[in-house]
């Protein structure tokens, strides 16, 4: 089976800015591939290049066995795309847009369309100007997921969706995978990628910094802990897997690798906990720490 997406050494410059700077990306058939990076890392530029919406300066680019720029029309029959910011026509209803995109892609499955509208709780009769940001994203998602495209290219598709709808989205992506479709999911939310993706490519400053399965990228999975303790703070800094420990009287703040979470929490409860907040670190924080050593292009 052909490799749906294969990119190597891709370069795209806008004036002086190198938006893509030697990107490699391989998406295998039938997988959900996470394309993870902070805002401005070059995810959308790479996706536009894959869609043949812009020309690149160097590198090779293969999409479904063809050339994304030259064969755009033929290739687009086989893929569906959802941008991170779906804009609609003010006086066309959501249903009209879904059908328009379906027609222009060569048809959509009416039963699946109805099911999608139902599960995303989207009213297709409203006009484009009346939809919220989240509902506009839903219009794009329903149109893409109702198509029979073998490749789904989703560029931060859940921006503006509430957590409940995020669940619905994840359900449909799993279903697409079960149907044998390939998904490229760009995101800056680690948790979303963790929940869905088989493999992940991490992009930063226009270049891939890591690719692998989630197990291989486990060192990225950390939790930020902020706690107020009842006793004097000691013995935390010595634990392996605890990073960036900051102590301010009886308050502590640190990041811990998930493998060391249990040990760290035991130590906290031994000291005595008055309050505790834990949250996944933002991708930006993670990147800042994890790739601090690498040279940062301005």
């Amino acid at each position: 089976m052909e490799t749906p997406i294969s990119v190597s050494g891709l370069v795209k410059t806008f004036g002086r800015t190198r938006a893509l700077d030697g990107l490699d990306l391989t998406v295998r058939a039938g997988e959900v591939h996470g394309f993870l990076g902070p805002n401005g890392a070059g995810k959308s530029t790479a996706i536009r290049a894959l869609l043949g919406l812009l020309r690149t300066d160097a590198g090779t680019l293969r999409l479904l066995g063809g050339d994304p720029w030259r064969d755009a029309v033929a290739l687009h029959r086989r893929l569906a795309y959802v941008p991170g910011d779906v804009t609609l026509w003010p006086n066309l209803s959501g249903g009209e847009v879904i059908d328009l995109l379906g027609r222009m892609r060569g048809g959509l499955d009416p039963a699946r369309r109805a099911e999608l509208l139902d599960s995303f709780e989207l009213d297709p009769r409203k006009k484009g100007r009346a939809y919220s940001k989240g509902n506009r994203q839903k219009v794009g998602l329903v149109a893409a997921l109702a198509s029979d495209a073998e490749l789904l290219i989703l560029d931060e598709p859940t921006s503006g969706l509430d957590p409940l709808m995020e669940e619905v989205f994840q359900h449909w992506v799993r279903r697409a995978k079960a149907d044998g479709r390939t998904v490229l999911l760009s995101s800056h939310i680690l948790a979303e990628v963790e929940a869905l993706c088989d493999r992940v490519t991490i992009i930063r400053n226009g270049r891939d910094v890591e690719t692998g399965t989630l197990t291989e990228l486990r060192h990225l999975r950390r939790t930020s802990i902020e706690a107020e303790l009842t006793g004097p703070v000691d013995g935390l800094g010595q634990l392996t897997g605890v990073h960036d420990l900051r102590v301010d009287g009886q308050r502590v703040r640190f990041d811990v690798e998930n493998a060391a979470l249990d040990a760290a929490l035991r130590r906290l409860t031994e000291i005595g906990v008055r309050s505790l907040v834990s949250q996944p670190p933002t991708l930006e924080e993670l990147f800042l720490r994890h790739y601090q050593g690498e040279q940062v292009r301005s």
Partner: protein, 265 residues
């Protein structure tokens, strides 16, 4: 030819989006000439009254500058002068319509949504031009039908309708070209309206300097302006045909220069 794939779908989309706007401007502009004709017939029913109007008002240089030259004292000639502004309005609407369905779509990000579907690179511009051309043709036919129904000679009515339609078509093409020259909708509108303004100034200068279409020294200026081509219709058929040929040439030139732009930041 894959570059045009999806054009028909986009034509349908434009018609659906402009289902209110398009009929409104076509009908508004279409009924005016016939209404002028019946108004003149009521106001100046005799040839003597019309001759007086022609000598007094219609050939006043400022009126000629504003509306265009007048070629005689028939109701048809007076109507054509009065309706001279319609060609300007058709030109204006045509520029704005083409830009709105090309660059504005791109700026809003909607073209990207469609660009990822089965859509050729020339489809967007082609669809916008097709719809605007068709709207102008329809406008021209309605104008001709209205004038004929108001009792004007059929050939002259058709020529005047064709003049307005061709002016609109030329400026639709200007709008299409302007959209290729700049990345922003505002820039494209600026270029298109700038060309229109220049055409208007040329026509004003030419008509004001040629004392009422009788062939004065500055008449050639009017011929440099597409806006000068339309008004000549009912007055002098030969000139209208030259005008039509010139309009056709501009349009062909515009088509040859059609370059796609997709993507870029």
């Amino acid at each position: 030819m894959t570059a045009l794939t999806g054009t028909w779908q986009l034509v349908r989309l434009i018609l659906r989006r402009d289902r209110v706007l398009l009929p409104i401007w076509i009908l508004l502009l279409a009924v005016l000439p016939a209404s002028y004709a019946s108004a003149y017939a009521e106001l100046y029913p005799t040839a003597a009254e019309r001759a007086a109007y022609l000598a007094g008002t219609a050939s006043n240089p400022s009126i000629v500058a504003l509306l265009g030259p007048v070629y005689g004292d028939s109701i048809g000639a007076l109507t054509v002068q009065r309706a001279g502004l319609l060609a300007l309005i058709a030109a204006l609407v045509s520029v704005l319509t083409v830009v709105r369905h090309t660059r504005t779509e791109e700026e809003a990000g909607r073209r990207e949504l469609l660009g990822a579907t089965v859509l050729g690179r020339y489809a967007g511009l082609t669809a916008a031009l097709l719809v605007t051309y068709a709207a102008n043709v329809l406008l021209g036919l309605l104008i001709a039908a209205g004038l004929a129904a108001a009792g004007q000679p059929g050939a002259g009515s058709l020529l005047f309708g064709a003049g307005v339609a061709l002016t609109g078509i030329v400026f639709a093409t200007v709008g299409g070209l302007a959209a290729q020259l700049t990345e922003s909708a505002g820039g494209a509108r600026g270029i298109g309206l700038g060309v229109l303004g220049l055409a208007l100034v040329l026509r004003l200068g030419g008509d004001a300097g040629s004392s009422g279409g009788t062939g004065g020294s500055a008449e050639w200026l009017s011929w440099l302006s597409p806006l000068g081509w339309a008004g000549t219709g009912a007055g002098l058929r030969r000139r209208a045909l030259v005008g039509a040929a010139a309009a056709g040439a501009v349009q062909r030139g515009g088509r040859a220069r059609r370059v796609p732009r997709l993507g870029a930041p």
